[in-house]
Subunit: 203 residues, 2 copies
C-alpha cells in the first residue's frame, strides 16, 4: 500500500509499501497499547509482564515498556519534575505509536500520574488502540510492598516529588479496566488483561 498524506507543515509523509494492516495480518492480531497507570509498587510492572507472558504464549507479538528500559535509555536525560515527567510521557507516547504501527501489542508500566499526559498519548493513537488500565492500590499497601525502601525515603523527604507522597496522582476518570491489586493477585489480574484484549477484538 502506498499513500502520501500532507502533514501540518505541508510536507508529504510517505507511508511506504507495508502498512500497519499488512503487519497486523502477518502477526495475526491488531496493534495496540495496554497503558497501566498507578502508584509506585502498585503492581503495574508485575501484571504487565505476566500479561505479556500469556499473550506471547498465544502467539502475540508483544513488548513491555517500563521505567527500566526507558528511563535508562530514551529518557535518561530527564528528571522527575512536572515538565520532565510530561516530556517523558510524550516521548514514550510517540515511540509506542510507532510500535503500534509496527503491529505489536505493547504494555506500558509507568506511574504516569497526570491525566493530561495520558490523554495526550491516547490522542496520538486511533480509537481502540489505547486501553487504559488503572492499577488501584492504597499508598500504605504500596509502601508495605516496597522492598527498596523508596516510600520510606520519600516520607523522610530524601526523595522529592514522589507520586502519592510529595507529588500528586490523578486517577483515571474513565479507565477501560480497574485492577485492585490489594484485593486480587497478579496472575488473576493478568487473566483479566487477556479478557480485555479479547473483548476489544485485538486478538
Amino acid at each position: 500500500m502506498t499513500n502520501k498524506t500532507p502533514n501540518k507543515n505541508n510536507v508529504t509523509w510517505f507511508n511506504g509499501y507495508v502498512s500497519r494492516e499488512d503487519r497486523e495480518k502477518l502477526h495475526g492480531h491488531k496493534g495496540a497499547v495496554i497503558w497501566f497507570t498507578g502508584l509506585s509498587a502498585s503492581g503495574k510492572s508485575t501484571i504487565a509482564h505476566l500479561a505479556e507472558k500469556a499473550l506471547h504464549g498465544r502467539g502475540v507479538s508483544t513488548y513491555v515498556f517500563d521505567g527500566d528500559n526507558v528511563r535508562h535509555g530514551l529518557c535518561s536525560d530527564l528528571g522527575f519534575g512536572k515538565k520532565d515527567r510530561a516530556e517523558n510521557i510524550r516521548r514514550i507516547g510517540e515511540m509506542i505509536k510507532l510500535f503500534v504501527d509496527g503491529g505489536l501489542i505493547v504494555l506500558t508500566a509507568f506511574i504516569s500520574p497526570f491525566r493530561k499526559d495520558r490523554r495526550k498519548v491516547r490522542s496520538l493513537l486511533q480509537e481502540g488502540q489505547f486501553l487504559e488500565v488503572y492499577v488501584e492500590c492504597p499508598p500504605e499497601v504500596c509502601a508495605g510492598r516496597d522492598q527498596k525502601g523508596i516510600y520510606a525515603r520519600a516520607k523522610a523527604g530524601e526523595i522529592k516529588e514522589f507520586t502519592g507522597i510529595s507529588a500528586p496522582y490523578e486517577m483515571p476518570e474513565n479507565p477501560d479496566l480497574v485492577i485492585r491489586s490489594h484485593e486480587e493477585d497478579a496472575p488473576e489480574a493478568a487473566k483479566r488483561i487477556i479478557e480485555l484484549v479479547q473483548k476489544h477484538g485485538l486478538i
Copy 2:
C-alpha cells in the same frame, strides 16, 4: 526467561518472562537494524522501503524509521544544529534498541552525518545486530533529484546547516554494504539488502 542485571545505579533491571530470543523464535527471524546513511535525496528512504516490502513478503516483522515518522513525533522538539542532530540520533538509537529487543528487523533512513553518532548507536546493540549501509551519491546528482528544491535553497543560504552544502558529512569508514545509487537502481539495491540480511543469518 527471567533474569535481573544490575545497572550502573545498582538498580535491578527485570527483563521479564519473554526474552528477545523468545520473540525472535515467534517471528522466525532475528532482530536487527539496517542503518542507511547518506546525503539527502541519495535514495536511503526509497531503498529502505523497497527492502521492507521484500522482507515483509518473506514473512519478516519489519519497520522503517525516517525523518517523516521521527522528526514530526519523537524528535519534534529538535532542530538541525550539531547538538540537536546528536540528540536526534541518540533517541532514535535508544528507540530502535527496543524494537530490536522486540524481535523486529528495522530499517532506518537518516542522513546521520556524524561517525560518532552512528558509532554510539552501534554500541547500544549487540554484535551482528547493527548493519551499516552507506548510500553513496554525488551531491550534484542528489541535487538534481531533489523535487522539493531544498538543495537549491540550501545553496542560496535559505536553509542553514544543510548536510553536503553547509554542514559536513562524514562517510562510513567500514560499512557493511555500499550502494552507489547513481550507478544502480533502487530495486537492485533492495535485493542486495536482502542478500546482506541473509549473509548475516538474520532471516
